[in-house]
Amino acid sequence: MSGTWCGVDIAKLIKKNGMKAEDIPLIRKIIRRNKRLELLFAVAGFAALLVGVLTFVALFAQMAWAGWERITPEFFTNFPSRRAGQAGILSAWVGSLLVMLVTAVSAVPLGVAAGVYLEEYAPKNLLTDIIEINVTNLAGVPSIVYGLLALGVFVYTFGFGQSILSAGLTLGLLILPVVIVATRESIRSIPLHIREAAYGLGATRWQVTRDHIVPYSLPGIMTGVIIGMSRAIGETAPIITIGALTFIAFLPESPVGPEFPWVNFEWLKSGFTVMPIQMFNWTSRPEEAFQQNAAAAGFILVLMTLAMNAVSIWIRYHVRKDIKW
């Protein structure tokens, strides 16, 4: 009988009339064997973790190393230039900022509203099912396909051209599923009894949504939005697809106008460049010195995403903790 295992006849061990003091060594033998495997896995797990973390460190260190010298105040205030030493990322980071603004303004209200609808309002019917499957589906659609959508719809059909508006809307659609999912998850974590308390007082659905659901899920939504944005800010492929690989050595019109109503939407139509594009552009330069610039831009880009992620982590662990049920 193959009932023995590391020298212990388990069947006999268990079948015996109960436990005796001398059985304990047998149990211990089994445990030792089990624990050896456990240790083995723990080591493997830790190693796997290291692969991930070390890759990140290597990547980051490599860029920091290569680009360190270029990171000066002028690097942020100079336009791109053919002279590597004078080239900066002014138009790139301003462009990234403005594109992100459009992205946030388009994706956040839509995503939050959609998430609220699906969690709080949606009846169980075909339409809701379709929307729901659709959102999951969109989350898996490659970003390059969004680029094609933008090329066909925003650039040519709507005639927005290769503008900040096109890019911002494209990335907005790209992160829409992220915002929706974050909103829904965050709403779902609000306990039922809070909702019942509000309804019990005679609140309408919208009152419950406005006074409770949205405020309490806000930290979770914020986290989702920031994670989405930090993904969007590094997106290269869809922006290339709309054809935004351009030398831009100027800033778009200021969004703040000099006279009433003090806002100005000209910038939406402006050409632009963004951080990853600028980086991509520099890496394809013949002069070695531009590789330094590319590394420096990459370093700053990663820092930007790092900072955004850090904010979202901070929200997750601090702001969220303040809401207790």
Partner: protein, 319 residues
Amino acid sequence: MQETNSGGAASLVPYGPLSVSDRLAKKVLRNFKERVIELLLLGAAFVSVLTTVGIIWVLVSESVNFFDNVPIWSFLTDTMWTPLFAEPRYGILPLLAGTLTTSAVALVVAIPLGTTIAIYLSEFARPAVREVVKPFLELLGGIPTIVYGYFALMVVIPLLQLLMPELSGFNMLGAGIVMGIAIIPYVSSLAEDAMRAVPMSMREGSYAMGATRLQTAFRVVFPAALSGILSAYILGISRAVGETMIVAVAAGMQPNFTVNPLEPAQTISAYIVQVALGDLPHGSIGYQSIFAAGLSLMLMTLALNLVGHVVRRRYREAY
């Protein structure tokens, strides 16, 4: 007097989907505002559907023109992809082979590593470690892929060439490995979430039997979280299939019909971005070809998502 709730369709889900039955919504006057708001919210939710419709419309309408010129059969069977050359050939197979091969390499890296990390974080690591490491891993997912692309080209492939001097300077292996690392966070983070969601009572049941952490993890937690873990894999696969910049930079942009990861190749997404870099004139067959390629890509991810849907249904958490 008998009154029935108009929400009548008997659904037995206790405290189920958090929708207020239509009964609540029925009141007229005060609820006019409520109705309007609901419609606005529905409209917002519908934008995602419009996005899909838009994607499909754009891809299909351009592809239709493409397939007017290129028989669909030769698109599917021709083994050469040279749409922009003097004698264009439009066989999607080389791009497909490239896409599948790089994805396979990436998954061979990401799934074991991602799963191991997920199990380790969820079942082994102390909470303090987890709280520190998890965001770190998520950062790995936030790094722009263009950065990964040059990392593959400048660091990983030269390292691989030290091991395999014959290896060409662009290859699917290096691109795939780095892509795998880039998608580890998607896999590990979601899989970990799924395992975290397994109730503690399930673990307690196992530990109370004298199981070790490893046994608990593999025999109880993993199967209990299977649906979530499979979803994580599927998301990882669709990320790999659609990933663009890493392969565009490091895999060689060479539409070879091969599944040998040591060879350079081109993926569907890399083709699209290559053409986009050249900005083909709107309306030309080359322009249409990127939409046909995009359609193939979209169909692949759609299929994956359907599989994911079925898998989630099939292995839905039973606890």
